[in-house]
Amino acid sequence: MSAPLDVSIGAPGIAVPAVAAPSRLRRRLRRYGPAWVGGGIVIAWVLVALLAPWISPYHPDAVDVSIRLRPPSLAHWMGTDTLGRDVFSRLLHGARLSLAAGFTVVILGAAIGTTIGIVAAWTRGFGDEALMRLTDLVLCFPPIILALAIAAALGIGPLNTILAMLVVWWPKFARLARALALVQRSQEYVEAATVLGLRPRRILARHILPNTLGPLAVLVTLDLGNAILTFAGLSFLGLGVIPPMPEWGSMVAEGRELVEQWWVAAFPGLAILTVVVGFNFCGDGLRDWLDPRSRSR
């Protein structure tokens, strides 16, 4: 459509179209709307986790067999479980462990993986080969099965489960970081740093690492939901936590055989769902925002 548009304002002899660009707000909303929703969900869950002791109506471990398996009511918004514990309170407290485990695994995994990847990209040759074959070895196994085996060997408990997950978590970051660092390595400003006689450690920390952080941040965000899901999965299988401790995966496991009492498994399941979706939306938004090609449109 390039028929001459209405021209009005502007200095004499200089035409400026009266119409503005197609509503900027609408474009931004279409592009980043889900990211804002995702961000809202994530922030809400973080707040819940922080404030759980103050906002939950009951103690999460308060057993009262007389009210076991009650459906949702005004007193117990999400009903009670087999021991008469309040599902809502347990859910709020469960957010603490799930989020903490997710953040710990992903952030430590990213730190370890990125270091290994960047060092591999810088050294090349034998060191690179050795590190990359090691990552291949770990990536060969389905992650949840390998984590399951390691966690089982280490013993039940949240710390051991996080440790087991870390073992399977770093390789994908190592792969991505190596690929990104290889690109940066051939950039002229890295060559310039070499010609200036800077030490490798400084080149890695000051020139290569900061320029690989964007895509890594996207993977971290997208991966948080994934890590929470995996942790819940391991707990569901009985590895994550020692029983009385509230945790979403183990809560779902408790409700697994209770077909009539749907609320015992459904609410923790929903909690996992929302948190994973929230992080995924955030990650997608972050990726769009960091990608200059998609941003210019």
């Binding site: 001459p4 548009l5 200089i14 400026v16 950039q187 310039a192 010609v195 800077l198 320029n211």
Partner: protein, 693 residues
């Protein structure tokens, strides 16, 4: 370019092929309305050739796209008219537009690498338009397609027709693009920087082709380029654009000889020419084009203009007829006067006679091969033969130019000399010390004395560091400042040295223009007081005026700081303006070496002859070299240039050594000087030649 062809007797009766009146195109951006094209008018008669020249951001490409209404969504044509043979292009409906584009008006784009569809065979892409516009049935169109490819100089067109684009080089793809462009005998062909991505010898081939198309088929051509030389070799008339406006329109020869707008004047005089005195300073104007969101109220060139008068700041000049048939947008020349010639630069002091002192940086029989990853487990490993035995020596206080086309190994040579790469064989000596296989730790103390400036001003500065941080880093790393405060003061000095404000230290690279970034790059190289600077195409990514500024700066610095430069370039005129000595590379070897003045006056190697004559400069006798450089995967036997050499003989099956032919001049040819060009006409003669046309 013959008068009878460019002005057919019917022009007065027929409407012109293209008539543009007061064209205005804007971009709707988040920051506001950018007036990219702001009142451009011109006309192109049948069979005429018009050039549009300007620096990046001047609106020349947007003008070209506007002509065919190929603009993106956020760009709008908000005023003016475009008439094609009397038809209003702006009023065409989408269906009419589609039928017109590619049929009567066609366009060739800059990037031959992305202009073709990678999954379609070449012939299919050539015939597509012929068939879809209903010109011919498919079978006939295929015959015509092969014919067109042959006409465009595609080797073995029958075989090429069945190939895919990735099997073609850049030059060959541009020929295919041209074949597609003229497939339907359009009355108008618009070419947007068609040779910018190509090497000089290939560029000369493509420009010849464009001229031929115009002469043979009478196709009117609108050629958009940043290079006046390219325009002058094809176009009779030229429109000079600045900040979205046409500032001068006249016959190309007249603009070259006597520009009437100060910007055109700057453009003409900023280009290093092969016939200027050696070592002369280039004329450059300071400043940058105005911010398109806040254009000055008066003349848009006023802030940078060396000739401005009081009226220029307040009144915006219209296009005025300054002489018969030529118009300019300038108050100074409005009364028909010419602009003064640039002051003749003082001939620089003769370079200090080099004594027998040992060279600063020296390469002996240097070889670098890159091993490619195997295609399959059992495939033999292939090697890129980037550098194949180079001997070169850079003396103290000297500037040595290394020229060659892309892929000749000149950038690899730069990286071998600075030991970014480790040589496969041969040796590198710096200040008499062998650094061929020195470890990074052993090199570190030497690094400050041997620095490098890179080609791409956008990639050579870390985007996450401020300019201050970039410059402080090497100073602190080598303990060259007692304190952070002292280092910061040194940064201020460095920025002043390269003509930037000390206050710029707190800014990030993306806040600067290309020329300013290149100055920062130079400041970084100077931070450690180097003795030698290896510059890898430091000005090839810059507009001509900025290029002139940077070259002048580098020359000043050399005199003030006593630097030695190894200057890598593909542009011979730049090398000639800048260097004392020149080495010409072809396929990883030096084919000729000697003093700059002598090499350009009387080249000895046939490749040097072709290279110097391929430069699109008006009035130059050209030797258009056929073919393309051979693959570096398998080196040819004997003389590497044999296949393209116009004087190759049986003896050339024997590889020629690089030997001294005359005092101080070496050439790798069995018959040096046998292939002599006609003597380069002097400048005045070339102009007379133009006016005759």
């Amino acid at each position: 370019m013959d008068g009878s062809l460019t002005t057919p007797p019917t022009t007065t009766l027929d409407p012109p092929v293209l008539e543009v009146e007061d064209l205005r195109t804007v971009f709707l951006t988040d920051a506001g309305v950018v007036r990219a094209v702001d009142g451009v008018s011109f006309r192109v008669g049948a069979g005429e050739t018009l050039g549009i020249v300007g620096e990046s951001g001047s609106g020349k490409s947007v003008t070209a796209l506007s002509l065919l209404r190929l603009l993106d969504e956020q760009a709008r044509i908000v005023g003016g008219t475009i008439r094609f043979k009397g038809q209003d292009v702006l009023a065409m409906r989408p269906a009419e537009l589609r039928a017109w584009r590619g049929d009567q008006a066609a366009m060739v784009f800059q990037d031959p690498m992305t202009g073709l569809n990678p999954v379609l065979r070449i012939l299919r892409q050539v015939t597509e338009h012929i068939v879809s516009h209903g010109r011919m049935p498919p079978a006939e169109a295929r015959q015509r397609g092969v014919g067109l490819l042959r006409r465009m100089g595609v080797a073995a067109p029958e075989r090429a027709a069945a190939s895919y684009p990735h099997q073609f080089s850049g030059g060959m793809r541009q020929r295919v693009m041209l074949a597609i462009g003229v497939a339907n005998d359009p009355a108008l062909l618009i070419a947007d920087e068609p040779t910018t991505a190509l090497d000089v010898t290939i560029q000369a081939q493509i420009l010849d082709l464009l001229r031929g198309l115009n002469e043979e088929f009478g196709t009117a051509i609108v050629l958009v380029s940043h290079d006046l030389g390219v325009i002058a070799s094809v176009c009779r008339r030229v429109v000079v654009m600045y900040a979205g406006e046409a500032v001068e329109e006249a016959a190309t020869a007249e603009v070259l000889a006597d520009p009437r707008h100060p910007y055109a004047w700057a453009l003409v005089n900023a280009v290093p020419r092969l016939d200027a005195p050696i070592g002369a300073r280039l004329t450059s104007i300071e400043g940058m084009p105005p911010d398109p969101l806040h254009l000055p109220q008066g003349c848009r060139f006023e802030p940078r203009c060396p000739f401005k008068i009081a009226r220029c700041a307040t009144e915006h000049p219209p296009m005025l007829e300054v002489a018969p048939g030529r118009r300019a947008r300038c108050w100074v020349t409005a009364d028909g006067r010419s602009l003064p010639r640039p002051a003749v630069p003082a001939t620089p002091a003769a370079p200090a006679a080099r004594d027998a002192a040992p060279p600063l940086l020296e390469a002996r029989d240097l070889v670098k091969h890159f091993v490619l990853p195997r295609r399959s487990l059992f495939a033999p490993a292939e090697k890129v033969h980037a550098v194949n035995g180079v001997d070169i020596a850079l003396g103290r206080g000297e500037s040595l130019g290394v020229v060659g086309e892309s892929g000749c190994g000149k950038s690899t040579l730069a990286r071998l000399l600075t030991r970014l790469h480790e040589p496969t064989a041969g040796s590198v000596l710096f200040e008499g010390r062998d650094i061929t296989h020195a470890s990074p730790a052993a090199l570190r103390p030497l690094r400050p004395r041997l620095q490098m400036v890179f080609q791409d001003p956008y990639a050579s500065l870390n985007p996450r560091m401020t300019v201050g941080e970039i410059l402080v880093e090497p100073i602190l790393a080598h303990g060259r400042a007692a304190s952070r405060q002292a280092a910061r003061e040194r940064v201020g000095e460095l920025l002043t040295t390269v003509g930037l404000k000390p206050g710029f230290a707190s800014r990030y690279p993306h806040e600067f223009s290309g020329g300013q970034r290149q100055r920062v790059s130079i400041a970084r190289a100077l931070a450690l007081d180097p003795a030698a600077v290896v510059a890898d195409e430091p000005v090839s990514a810059l507009d001509v005026n900025v290029q002139a500024q940077v070259l002048n700066l580098m020359q000043d610095l050399q005199q003030r700081l006593g630097l030695s430069y190894l200057f890598i370039a593909h542009d011979l005129a730049v090398v000639r303006a800048f260097c004392d000595r020149v080495a010409v590379m072809y396929l990883g070897r030096i084919v000729e070496e000697g003093p700059a003045a002598e090499i350009f006056a009387a080249p000895l190697h046939p490749y040097t002859v072709a290279l110097t004559s391929a430069i699109p400069e008006p009035g130059r006798q050209r030797v258009v070299l056929g073919g393309e450089p051979p693959s570096t995967l398998r080196l040819p036997e004997g003389c590497a240039f044999r296949a393209r050499c116009p004087v190759a003989r049986a003896a050339c099956a024997e590889p020629p050594p690089l030997r001294e032919v005359a005092p101080g001049r070496r050439a790798a040819c069995h018959f040096p000087g046998d292939f002599a060009p006609h003597p380069t006409p002097v400048r005045s003669a070339s102009l007379a030649d133009h006016q005759r046309r």
